[in-house]
Amino acid sequence: MAKAKTNTEDYLRMYRQMVRIRTFEDNANQLYLSAKMPGLTHMYSGEEAVAVGICEALTDDDRITSTHRGHGHCVAKGAEFREMFCELLGKEEGYCRGKGGSMHIADQSHGNLGANAIVGGSMGIATGSALRAKLQGKDDVTVCFFGDGATAQGLWYEVMNMAALWNLPVIYACENNGYSEYTKTEEIAAGSIMARAEAFGIESHQVDGQDVMAVNDLTRKLVDRARKGEGPFFMELMTYRYHGHHVGDINREYYRSKDEEKDWKENKDPIIRFRAWLVSEGIATEEEIEAMNAEIEKDATEAVAYAEKAPYPPANEVDMHVYAD
């Protein structure tokens, strides 16, 4: 049946995207640890289902704003490995001509308004994008990714308030991975996170962030309604990050146990789960999946090699783009 076939493609693509994110992050991690990547970077590994589940429900016209932990969103919204690795290494062919780096990576062609190094810094931008859509009578939706730690930023409440007042087509997606840097979420967020959004009269949902299908289903529904002007909405996605806050930071055992990590990795991994489901539903065989993984691995390796050899932007670009023409 056509529909099932379409769904199959969708499922396979969702799987592929998650693997691409994981693969990208593994490579990025290696680049960083082998001192080939300058600056700071933050791994998304473990949260793939969140980015993929949501972004698969969006078109290129829909916008997202990302966070410092933004590689996952970037890949999920359609970015290519090569340009991403180039950007992370500060090369000219990067999405931002090397000027943004990991923390500011943006891909306008696919509607990614950019990662942001300021926690909560893009909440205003996302809301503004939604306002523009409404004012201009467009039906694109903006998804605002942020972490549980960002719920401590005053800006969120200001913009949620206005989003709610003006019925803006924005979906606030809180990736609750249980930790705000090195502190457990319950120690930095009083009361309930969901209730915060609900206090503004914003319809709020909580979902298992490691279940890509659940995330995707929910997102589709909310996006649909947002396009009709029923927004804003709030999603709290319960997830987990495998790595530290940023690569090379403190020993995680200071703030969480190895057992906990093991539990999430072995029992709740979104890729393992989805893979099992695909196989059990007959959508793909193990061999096909292995082949897919291998291909993605190869793509990544090639992209890394390419990026390593790619040139830096010329010196005269240092003072370009301060002002637009």
Binding site: R63, T65, G94, Y95, C96, R97, G98, K99, G100, H104, A106, Q108, L113, G114, N116, I118, G121, S122, M123, G124, I125, A126, T127, G128, S129, A130, L131, R132, A133, L135, Q136, T142, G154, L155, E158, V159, N161, M162, L165, W166, M320, H321, V322, Y323, A324, D325
Partner: protein
């Protein structure tokens, strides 16, 4: 030529640009029916509707952030920040986000927004509603800063600001909203980075911004009676700054005083004076002086407040000393 107030001039500029380009919209506190407490925006909501003249809650960071996002995705917002003093609240959205998006994205994202706010003391509004903070934002690469000195400048600079594809901060002198000046009926724009020589002179250059342009002009009139011929220049925008005109003037007169209502220390006057020093050093027959507001929070009491800002008399005294070759400070 007809004369209109600065308030009317700003209103006209906004109305004309909103008619011209439907992506232009206004947001801020009390901008709609109230037309802002300064009544600058009266009538706009009637013409353009609440979709394009949006009242916001008292959430400066929030609505400036929203303006940034709207600008990044295809709109041209004009944000009304009720008092220049509130600029501290919006610094992250203005300076970390708006100012840097174009650069951080390698030129792919633009933020064509205008932040309309004000400056100026002597209104008895006390320390937190009387500041002139143009130096703060002029310091940030990626922002442009305009300082209209009359109704004529206000209209021309506002139109240019709205059409500029960069984040522009315009400071209006809140004391001048009811001051009239000749403003053409026909459309005109004032380009950024072009200074206006308001009065030609041979003996000393007075460079003044915004509220201080009148002060300089009054001082020039007083100096004329003493036989000192002062040249008065209004830079109009400090970012970009028309250095060439300022330098030409100083090379002609060999003396300069820079007057701005920001605080005396670490401000606009220091930057301009430094540039004159660097680039016209061998033409200087006297040190370049800075005159700004006193380095004190603006006091409430009328007896005290007026002491804190440059006056024509103070300018005259300094100009006299410079022309006489008198030492103002230790040699």
């Amino acid at each position: 030529m007809r004369e209109i107030t600065l308030s009317q001039a700003v209103n006209e500029a906004l109305a004309e640009e909103m008619r011209r380009d439907e992506t232009v919209f206004i947001l801020g506190e009390d901008v709609a029916e109230a037309g802002t407490p300064f009544k600058v925006l009266s009538g706009l909501v009637e013409e353009f509707g609440t979709d394009r003249v949006l009242d916001t809650p008292i959430s400066e960071p929030g609505f400036v952030g929203i303006a940034v996002g709207a600008a990044m995705t295809g709109a041209r917002p004009v944000v009304d920040l009720m008092f220049g003093d509130f600029i501290y609240l919006v610094m992250d959205q203005l300076c970390n986000q708006a100012a840097k998006q174009h650069y951080m994205s390698g030129g792919k994202l633009t933020v064509p927004m205008v932040l309309r706010t004000n400056l100026g003391a002597t209104r008895r509004s006390a320390a937190q509603h009387s500041q002139s903070l143009q130096a703060l934002v002029a310091h940030i690469p990626g922002l442009k800063v305009a300082l209209p000195s009359s109704a004529y400048e206000a209209k021309g600079l506002m139109k240019t600001a709205i059409r500029d594809n960069n984040p522009v901060v315009i400071f209006e002198d809140k004391l001048m909203y009811q001051d009239k000046a000749p403003v053409p009926e026909e459309e005109y724009l004032i380009p950024f980075g072009v200074a206006n020589v308001k009065r030609e002179g041979r003996d000393i250059t007075l460079i003044a911004t915004s509220s201080m342009v009148q002060v300089a002009e009054k001082a020039a009139a007083m100096l004329e009676k003493e036989g000192i011929d002062a040249e008065v220049i209004d830079p109009r925008t400090i970012v970009p700054l028309d250095e060439a005109t300022l330098l030409d003037s100083v090379k002609k007169t060999s003396r300069a005083i820079v007057i701005d209502e920001g605080h005396q220390s670490y401000g606009v006057t220091a930057e301009i004076a430094a540039r004159l020093n660097e680039k016209a050093f061998y033409h200087l027959d006297a040190p370049v002086l800075r005159m700004g507001a006193m380095d004190v929070p603006v006091p409430f009491s009328p007896a005290l407040e007026d002491l804190t800002v440059p006056t024509p008399e103070a300018v005259v005294e300094n100009a006299r000393k410079l022309c006489a070759g008198e030492l103002i400070h230790a040699a």
